[in-house]
Every structure is written in C-alpha cells, then in structure tokens.
C-alpha cells in the first residue's frame, strides 16, 4: 500500500523526523483557514499516489489569498495520470540551505533492505550518479554505519550529529512499521541546520498489515475491491470490456496477455485463489457483474483437482438469479467435464478445451454492440 504524502509525513512525525508546518485541506474554506496559521508564501501540493506531481504542475506556490483561491481550485480538479486528488496539502515555505536524498527500500534481488543516500536531492534518484547504496543487515542501521554514511556524504561537521540521529530514526521507522519503501526526497537542511523531510514516499508491506491495524485508515480501495478482498480474491479493475476470472495470479495475468494479443481489451482481473467451489465461482461472478462495461466473461481455470461440474453449477446459478447477463466463455481442465457440458448446454455459457478457443470467442462477443 502506497501512502499519500501527508500520511507518510504523519508516520515520519511519529518517529521524530521533522516535517514542515502543514495542513490538509479538502475544501477552499479549510485551505484559507489554515493559510492564516501558516502564513504566505506557502506551497500547495496535490495528494496523489502517482509520481511526477511537480512536472505535472500539481505543486504550486501561493503568494496571497487570492492566489491561493485560484490555484487551490485548479489543483483540486487537476487530473495527473488519471488520478484526481481528494485533498491538498498546504505547507510553509522552507528556507533551504541544501537538498539531500535518503531512502530505505526492499532490495528484492539482494534479499535485504538497502539504504540509498546522496548529497544531490530533489531530483530523480535514478539519474544521480553520486550516491551511496548500502545493503543493510536485518537489524537495520547501526550507530557505526550511520556515522560512516554521514562521513561519506561530505556533510559539514556541524550537521553530522543531526543527520546521524535522523538516519537512526528512519531505520527504526522501516523496521517497526514494516515499510517496503521509506523515501525522503528531498531531505533538506534549513538555514538553522535542522533536517526536514520536504516530501514523503512510503510503501507499506500489505502482508504485514495484520500487525499494524492502525494503517487500515489509509486504505483507499473501492467498494468493489473491498468486496473482492473479503472473499479472498485479488481483483484489479481495468479499462476494457472483457472480464477475466481464473485461479492463480500468474494464470490470470497470462490470460490477460493472450486476450490483449487477440485484439481484446480486458476489463477486470480476478484471481479467486486456490479454492474452486460452487460458492467461490459464484461470488467471483457476483463481483465482476458490478463492473458495468463488461460485455463478455472469460473463465480460465486450471484445475486438475477441480470438479468442473461444480463450476458449471455456479455459472448456471448466476444466470438463473440474474447476477450475470453477459455470455461466459470457459476453459476448465478438471474432472466431470461431460457433466459440466450437459449442465451448460442450454445456457449462455460455453466450455472449450483450449484457452485459445475460449479467448477467440470471448473477444468476438466483446465486439458486439
């Protein structure tokens, strides 16, 4: 789960990492109200999960109240990469002396967490040549390592102690909150020598959420996604009109690719996981029936130990009670397939031996107006 900037900053604050004076506003009224506490000039920042806000103009400087009034409304309605903000963060202007980069991320290939630190901040870190990358032990950053990093970054002596303290706080944060990424870019040194996190990019390990119930409040999944989650399904809504259902994330992804290759356009991804019973298939159909644009439903199920007649029964049930209306094209390997074919003989559902056949027919059906 990727946190919004203000949520990440809340987390930083909790761990004693300094952030600028800021207020979250959902309406212009709230914004004008909090501008009185912050004072002008100030910065307004669209709260989005997508990157590249600055380039897209979703971060603006406001010099007075009328400036704020104009720009706040603009930002609230400005879509960046298809995403609209629900809130805008108002922040005091910082007196920046120097910008740095600091992050701790899950290094998948090295199978550890790694630290990246650079004395060039505020830019895309991938384009920075002069940076430290240090693989961390499971215990996190030790005092010795923190001192070493401070030395290597060529910080002024008067700034080193504060930097070391900050690094240890960030180390404590990633370990206790179980983040996959905790990035401060830029980390700024103010004229008074204090370190402030000007931005926050934090990704939480979803699988550790059971140990962190407090993060529940940050979850922004749609009602449909929540419903799918309650059934134990993985569900992603997509732009097209063919619903794809299957057992196993890899298999559903693979089906997505093949549908796209055949000229079709997937409208949803649903992996119902390890159990293919009449109930789970029915629930899966119920979820995708709520995606309005769906014209055809493709079921790709690699069973082996799955009874296809139970799957057929679920499809029949969903037609009978009006849950689904779109035609179903299914490829199901498993036992009892003769019985399944009989069950579906007079319905809008068809069973195929190969996934290619099922896809061709699902794509054709999705083109009917």
């Amino acid at each position: 789960m990727k946190l919004l900037e203000y949520q990440g900053k809340e987390l930083f604050s909790k761990h004693g990492i300094k952030i600028p004076k800021s207020f979250l506003a959902h309406t212009l009224e709230e914004a004008i109200d909090s501008s009185k506490t912050i004072g002008f000039p100030l910065v307004i920042k669209s709260q989005l999960t997508v990157g590249g806000r600055g380039k897209a103009g979703a971060i603006q400087k406001c010099t007075n109240e009328s400036d704020l009034t104009t720009k706040f409304s603009e930002l609230l309605h400005k879509e960046v990469k298809g995403e609209l903000p629900k809130s805008i963060l108002l922040e005091e202007m910082a007196n920046i002396n120097k910008e740095l980069y600091l992050s701790i991320f899950l290094n998948r290939s090295k199978r550890c967490f790694s630290l990246i630190a650079s004395s060039e901040g505020g830019v895309d870190i991938e384009s920075v040549k002069n940076k430290l990358i240090i693989d961390l032990p499971n215990e996190g950053i030790s005092d010795t390592l923190a001192i070493d990093v401070a030395d290597k970054l060529n910080l002024e002596d008067r700034n080193k102690a504060s930097f070391i303290e900050l690094l240890l706080k960030l180390s404590n944060l990633y370990k206790t909150e179980e983040t996959e990424l905790a990035e401060i870019n830029p980390l700024v040194i103010l004229n008074d020598g204090s370190f402030v996190a000007l931005d926050a990019k934090v990704i939480i390990d979803d699988n550790a959420l059971f140990r962190h119930p407090e993060f529940k409040k940050y979850e922004t999944i749609s009602e449909l996604e929540q419903q799918a989650k309650n059934y134990g399904f993985s569900f992603v809504e997509l732009d097209g009109n063919i619903a794809i259902i299957g057992n196993g994330a890899g298999l559903v992804m693979s089906t997505l690719d093949m549908v796209t290759d055949s000229g079709g356009s997937p409208g949803s991804f649903l992996d119902f996981g390890g159990k293919a019973t009449t109930e789970t298939i029915y629930e899966a159909l119920k979820v995708i029936s709520q995606v309005t644009k769906i014209k055809s439903i493709l079921v790709n199920l690699f069973g082996g130990i799955v009874r296809t007649d139970l799957v057929a029964r679920a499809i029949l049930n969903a037609y009978e009670d009006g849950t689904i209306k779109a035609p179903v094209f299914a490829r199901i390997t498993g036992s009892q397939s003769e019985k399944a074919r009989e069950l579906l003989a007079n319905s809008q559902a068809k069973l195929y031996d190969s996934v290619e056949e099922a896809i061709t027919n699902a794509v054709n059906a999705s083109r009917v107006i």
Binding site: K2, T49, V50, L106, R108, S109, R111, C112, F113, E126, N138, K175, E178, E180, D205, D206, N207, A208, F210, R211, S234, V236, L238, G246, N247, G248, A249, G250, L251, V252, M253, S254, L256, D257, M258, V259, T260, D261, P266, F269, D271, G274, F302, G303, G304, I305, T333, S354, V355, E356
Partner: protein, 305 residues
Amino acid sequence: MENNFDIFKVLVGNEEDIDYKKKPVIIQGITGNFGSTHTRLMKEYGTNIVAGVTPGKGGQEFEGIPIFNTMADAVDFHKVEISGIFVPAPFFLKAAKEAIDSGIKLLVAIPEHVPVRDSLDILEYAKNKGVKMIGPNTPGVIVPDIIKIGIMPALPFSSGSTVVLSRSGTLMYEVSYTLTKSGFGQKICLGIGGDPINGTNLIESFELIRNRNDVDSVVVVGEIGGDAEENLADYIISTDFSLPVVAYVAGRSAPKEKKMGHAGAIVYGTYGSAESKVSNYAKAGVPVAKRPAEVPVLLKEKLKK
C-alpha cells in the same frame, strides 16, 4: 552461494538408501483446511508423509499419520529432513523457526501473505544453519512419479529431463501440462514463489541443477515485478550456462503500479517490466514464449540446435 546442497539427494536419495524414493516428510499444519486436503493428495501421489504437527493435537492421528504438538517431538520420533509448511501466514515465522531448530534440511513454505520481514528473518536463520527454503507463497516442489510436496495437482506432470522453475503456481501446472503433452517430461518442477523475497531464487535454482547429466533443458516461468529474470539472464551469460533455456513472462499487458495478485507482481517505472525481462533474456539467448502453449515449440527448436 552454497553450491553443495543436493536437492535430489534430499528429495529422492541414493539407490543404496533404505528410504530411496521414499524420503519421509513432515507436514506442519496438517489438520488445517489446506493442510489436510493436500496431505491426502500428497499421500495418494506416493509421498511418504510420516508425521504431522499441529500444536494442541499431539497424540491424535490424521489418515493414519501420527500428529505431534511440536516439530522437536516429530523429528525425534522420525528421522526426517523435509518439512512442508501449511500453516497460515501469521504463524509461519514460528513454524519455520521450529522446523529449522529441529534439524530439518529442506523447508517447503506454502503459505501466501507472509510479511517480508518474516521471510527475511527466516532466510537468514536458515542460511546460518545450512537449511534450504523453497517459497514462501509457492505451490511446492515435485519430482514427477517420486515425490510431491505442495498443493499442485498430479495431472500436469510426467517424469523426464526438463526442469521447470516457476514464480507462479497455476502457470507452473499449465506450462508443465503443455510440456507433458508434447513429450517433454520433467526432472523436477519447483515453485520459486510469488513473493518479493524467495527462499530459493532463480539463480540458486539453476545452481541446484547445473551439473546434472540427467537434465537436458530448463523452462523458466516468470512474471512482471522485480529483477529476478534480469539477474538470471546475467548469470546465464557470465557462467556460460550451457543447457537450453526457454522462458515465459506473464503480465505484459498489466497496468503499472498495480499489484497483480502476487505480492511480487508489480511494475514501478521500467523496474520489473516485461520489456526489461524479455530484452535481457534476448541478450542471454533465451527465447521467450508468447503464451504457455508456445513453450514446448520453442524448446523443440532449442534442443535441435
């Protein structure tokens, strides 16, 4: 990297062993919904399950298999080197530590949704004690016709000399099935796991099979997310891996920054993208199938050369 771990010795054994092709296995979480279903199926396949562990159910039996409260008790009673872990993710850390402490040599970690921190902790613990872990979030491992530890159905697999390594469960079945139907039996099929952190990654899996004369080809079933395929391509080049390798990468058409079912299947920018994987494979001379059914076609071509 430990090159000395012989996974076939642990899973199959040598001809002179009294338990050759009948290596004993313990199932942790044997009485759970998943554990019990699959214990029955593994047994049916011929896996020699000698004991199960469920805290609080020691002394009972499941399908004639004795249940113990702890791994220490179970391993004390039966000399066992393999454990299949079927406990829910929140209990994985404890179960895996217990298994390693009891002297298990190979852990097959089935549970999905294990926190990254727990995986890293266990990985370090296992490494220090010379224990190999497969998973978590893996369908398991199968040596066709000999031993199956995991949740895979029996249908797709047949014995032969191709190795299948997969980051996805059902795709491992799908691809193995197309191989089986095309006459390519499998030496071993190993689920790497769908998580960001894998106990045995692709390169380590290649190390496990690289010097065997009973293996003639490798199929790698990958997906978007991370850089395991990119690193594998580098490894194939730098170590001059000589056996034919064919790959498949799922998720070409998936949107960015969306988790596609697996915790590890997510693309950030170009990191983890299918294009990156395919172009790196190309440098290593590894053809990438467009769909599962194309894997045996490409393999046939590769083996002809």
